[in-house]
Amino acid sequence: MATITYREALNQALSEEIERDQNVILLGEEVAQFKGSYKVSEGMLERYGPNKIIDTPISEAAFSGLAVGAAMMGMRPVVEFMFWSFCYVAFDQIFNNAASVRYMSGGLINVPIVFRGPANGGTNVGATHSHTPENFIANTPGLKVICPATPADAKGMLKSAIRDNDPVCVMENTILYNMQDEVPEDNEFLIPLGKANVLREGTDISIIAHGKAVHTSLEAASALEEKHNINAEVVDLRSIRPLDVDTILQTVKKTNRVLLVEENKPFCGVGAQISYLIQEQAFDYLDAPIKRLSAVDAPQAYSKALENAQIPDKNRVIASALSIL
């Protein structure tokens, strides 16, 4: 097993799948000559040529729709959004077309497509470049949405997404692109979508998170143990839809206290659905109200001082945990 970055893990996943299946292509803004805005596709144009690694104009609606049309015909396009915030100008293609064609055709047509790119705040780029749309993607039957938080997950889950016969939206994170960890080199290293990962075993409280909030939660869990002698369990959801309801319920039944952490906005956010699931299916196991910690409910702020206050950090995770212990 080699230690590589999250970015390199994505590159490996894309490269292996392009080599494996001639129907797989990568298209998006600056993915080829420029080597990717975040260098995810570095070296791929040289290896696979311009018929597989395709630079597009800044036309998200057209190239997303083009990819959906090609997927309907049997190709497996991977569409890179420079930021998921830019998917909003391609909304119709993702939500009306990719998500609905299978259903509206009574199952006659599949749309095996991947939309991927970073969806995160925390980089001081303001409201238009910091959206985290996993909650409303998950609100659309027909779409899947995953949020890999580690290099290994980035590789194993992106490969599964490319092989999936339905549209999968992959939420990455520019802050995680440089994160290093061990990643299997195996071409068949596949992580099934919809399987959460218990990253830290604990007994006193369950912290359930996705995306970069997973790492914030792990840091907070260490501090809770060191400073407060509290043993927190940390669950990385990894996938929002499908959702690993079983693992969520197991951890709740084990620790009886739940803190939900996400960098998504709170209203109708991912945590809202999970908290409903827990109260419905594990109400009797709760020893305290479910606590949620999300991004502060304002458009994403530019100023570092404001944005740092907006996104859940270690101290706020600790404070939120302590409030229900």
Partner: protein, 390 residues
């Protein structure tokens, strides 16, 4: 840049292009434009058509009309819900263009899709049953009027959002080229769709990447209830392709020979040169935007009557075939009568068909929930079950 098919005949039709007919002043172009009719009937693609193929073209147009008239009655009887966008008056465009397609050519259209569906060979039963919301419908009752599909017949829908199919058609052309097929995608749209942004993004990519997509603007003069003069700056609409160095033309959609000739040239350009086209085909719908459309607020009865009288595609082609000595009045009556019977039978089939069971709501959403033995995902896919599956 001069459009490739921008010949004198087309110039003439540009000049005479007139959609907003003042009932007091007859500006409708005469249907009996002798020379041009002869010209298109002698176009290469039409010259060698057999008598039976010509009769079949006429039959298909009549079948579409009778199917839609029957569906209108079913709508009025309460058997069909939602929207019903009728194609009556435009039949020559779908039938003519589809008849010019080769084996590897594909089509995609907007929500006024019944004509295209029947033209590609979908049968009336599955189409009528879909309108009735029945399980025997082409989309099992999940798509409705606007969402017919038959991928086995190279027909990719049936799309409800104006202009939303224009990037999809581009993608089909892309996939065909990527697979090395000598095929093209005919992507139909209305005049109203020419004002949607993704259309222009698609034109740019089509030309930039040499993709074999043919955008067919079925210009029926109205974007819902808004006349072309109130919705679009600059005429003709197809000229907008010029900005992207795409060959464009304007032609008349009332004469099926002209439609075939226009499409055949564009297909050749797509097959041989992998180049896109924008074809504006003037046509007219007799019914409202949808059946619920009051249809009296934005155009006059006289205008509609004028088109029915002088530009009806079925009447024009019928007269043409009578003149060519390939059809008799009795034969025409027989074809029409069979089409009516077929439409009536489809309505009976639809009525007798079962509705889908509520449990079927959860089918056809994700591939892997339909094929649980082959699923690779874990976890929960659905979060509310209104009904339990039996």
């Amino acid at each position: 840049m001069e459009g490739l098919y921008h010949d004198a005949t087309i110039e003439e039709s540009n000049v005479k292009k007139q959609k907003n007919i003042d009932p007091n002043q007859s500006t409708t172009k005469s249907v009996d434009s002798g020379p041009s009719k002869i010209k298109f009937s002698e176009a290469e693609c039409n010259l060698n058509l057999s008598a039976s193929t010509k009769i079949d073209l006429l039959t298909q147009m009549i079948r579409i009309r009778r199917f839609e008239e029957r569906s209108l009655r079913a709508y009025q009887q309460g058997h069909i819900g939602g929207f019903l966008h009728l194609y009556i008056g435009q039949e020559a465009v779908a039938v003519g263009s589809v008849s010019a397609m080769g084996e590897d050519d594909h089509i995609i259209t907007a929500y006024r899709d019944h004509g295209h569906a029947l033209a590609v060979g979908m049968d009336m039963d599955e189409c009528m049953a879909e309108l009735f919301g029945k399980r025997t419908g082409c989309s099992k009752g999940k798509g409705g009027s606007m969402h017919f599909f038959a991928p086995d017949k190279n027909f990719w829908g049936g799309h409800g959002i104006v202009g939303g199919q224009t990037p999809l058609g581009l993608g089909m052309a892309f996939a065909l080229k990527h697979a090395g097929k000598k095929g093209a995608c005919l992507c139909y749209m209305g005049d109203g769709a020419t004002n949607q942004g993704p259309f222009y993004e698609s034109l740019n990519l089509a030309s930039l990447w040499d993709l074999p997509v043919i955008y067919i603007i079925e210009n029926n003069g109205y974007s819902m209830g808004t006349a072309e003069s109130r919705h679009s700056a600059g005429e003709p609409l197809a000229r907008r392709g010029d900005a992207f160095d795409i060959d464009w033309s304007v032609s008349e959609g009332h004469n099926i020979y002209e439609v075939r000739s226009t499409i055949a040239k564009a297909l050749e350009n797509a097959h041989l040169n992998c180049r896109p086209s924008v074809l504006e085909i003037n046509t007219y719908r007799y019914r409202g935007h949808s059946v619920a459309d009051p249809d009296q607020t934005y155009r006059s009865k006289e205008e509609i009557e004028e088109y029915k009288k002088n530009k009806d595609p079925i009447s024009i082609f019928k007269d043409q075939l009578l003149e060519e000595g390939l059809l008799t009045d009795d034969q025409f009556t027989e074809i029409d009568s069979q089409a009516k019977d077929e439409a009536e039978a489809s309505a009976e089939f639809a009525l007798a068909s079962p509705f889908p069971e509520p449990a079927e709501l959860m089918d056809d959403i994700y591939w892997e929930t339909d094929y649980p033995d082959e699923t690779t995902s874990k976890g929960t896919m659905f979060f509310e079950y209104p009904v339990t599956k039996s």
